[in-house]
């Protein structure tokens, strides 16, 4: 039994470190870099999942050889009750964060023109400007298209389920468009306190209430956020 557990244990110890060591990144990491919490959650999740599969296999074999025994009960306890909790914890921890990335949004084919424009260094749309200048560090689509606070995240995830359904069934009405008017508060969450925004020459004081209430859209002056539908079709 010790020999049988040696290989999976070695894999268990090696998996997180191997996943944290991302070789695709060319800029040197800061001294003492040990990876992000997401990378560790992913690595540990994979390690626990593999270990659990090994335990389940050993439990099945123990049941076949000697029926119910103290050993098979221990393996079942670990494999069905304990390790799945760790796997679910790390899968949630990694999965919910990873679902916010641009790659996650781009995994639906219908989003290709938007993501293509976002990543185009020559594009002057608002989204592309934010992307190429790194005004937003990560999760560019999610940052601008979800409301802030816990309920904003929950609502975005809930609507994301709808997107998966529509994409799977191909029931989108094309060209796809934003579900409801874009809220200025999403822009103001970052820009609201900036000196550029508060400069009365750029945003006169008397106009601020309309901007905050959404009567005047930021996009009226600073748009378009994304290329208009005709250009999206041409860029496919």
């Amino acid at each position: 039994m010790t020999r049988a557990l040696a290989a999976p244990l070695a894999l268990f110890l090696a998996a997180p470190a191997a996943l944290v060591a991302d070789t695709s990144f060319s800029v040197p990491r800061p001294h003492g870099w040990v990876g992000t919490a997401d990378e560790w959650a992913r690595g540990l999740g994979i390690a626990f999942a593999l270990l659990d599969l090994v335990l389940l296999f050993l439990a099945w074999r123990a049941l076949s050889r000697s029926g119910e025994s103290p050993l098979s009960k221990e393996l079942l306890f670990g494999g069905i009750l304990v390790l799945p909790l760790a796997v679910v914890f790390f899968a949630y921890s990694y999965g919910l964060e990873a679902s916010k990335t641009v790659d996650a949004c781009a995994s639906c084919h219908v989003m290709t023109p938007w993501v293509k424009d976002l990543r185009d260094p020559k594009s002057e749309t608002l989204a592309a400007l934010h992307f190429k200048n790194r005004y937003i560090q990560d999760n560019h689509c999610y940052t601008c298209h979800s409301d802030y606070g816990a309920f904003g995240s929950v609502r975005a995830k809930w609507e994301g389920l709808g997107h998966v359904y529509y994409n799977s069934t191909g029931s989108y009405e094309k060209p796809i468009k934003i579900a409801r008017p874009y809220s200025n508060l999403r822009c103001l969450n970052c820009h609201g306190e900036s000196q550029k925004f508060l400069d009365p020459e750029k945003h006169p004081r008397e106009d601020l209430p309309d901007m905050i209430s959404g009567k005047t859209s930021c996009l009226d002056c600073h748009g378009p956020a994304h290329p208009p539908p005709a250009e999206q079709r041409a860029s496919r």
């Binding site: 992913r42 999740g45 994979i46 999942a49 593999l50 659990d52 599969l53 389940l56 439990a59 099945w60 049941l63 029926g67 119910e68 098979s72 079942l76 494999g79 069905i80 009750l81 799945p84 796997v87 679910v88 790390f90 899968a91 990694y94 999965g95 919910l96 990873a98 679902s99 990335t101 996650a104 995994s107 639906c108 994301g160 389920l161 997107h163 998966v164 994409n167 799977s168």
Partner: protein, 66 residues
């Protein structure tokens, strides 16, 4: 009275399937693997625990503990 191991085998199979779906999410996150994890993998893992609990209850009853 000795009880069979069918329930335990079902619990193992359900848990293994749930873990494999979770593994798919951890290896490659897409909206589909996330939905599969949330709505398929977790019920399977829960069902595995239920099968194990039912087997344990039957076992204890057959011994007169319950």
């Amino acid at each position: 009275m000795k009880i069979g191991t069918g329930g335990l085998r079902a619990a193992i199979a359900l848990t293994a399937l749930g873990i494999l779906i979770s593994l798919a999410l951890l290896v490659k996150e897409t909206p589909y693997t996330l939905v599969a994890f949330m709505f398929v993998a977790q019920p399977l893992l829960l069902l595995g625990v239920v099968f194990l609990a039912i087997h344990a209850a039957r076992d204890l009853r057959s011994r007169g503990v319950l």
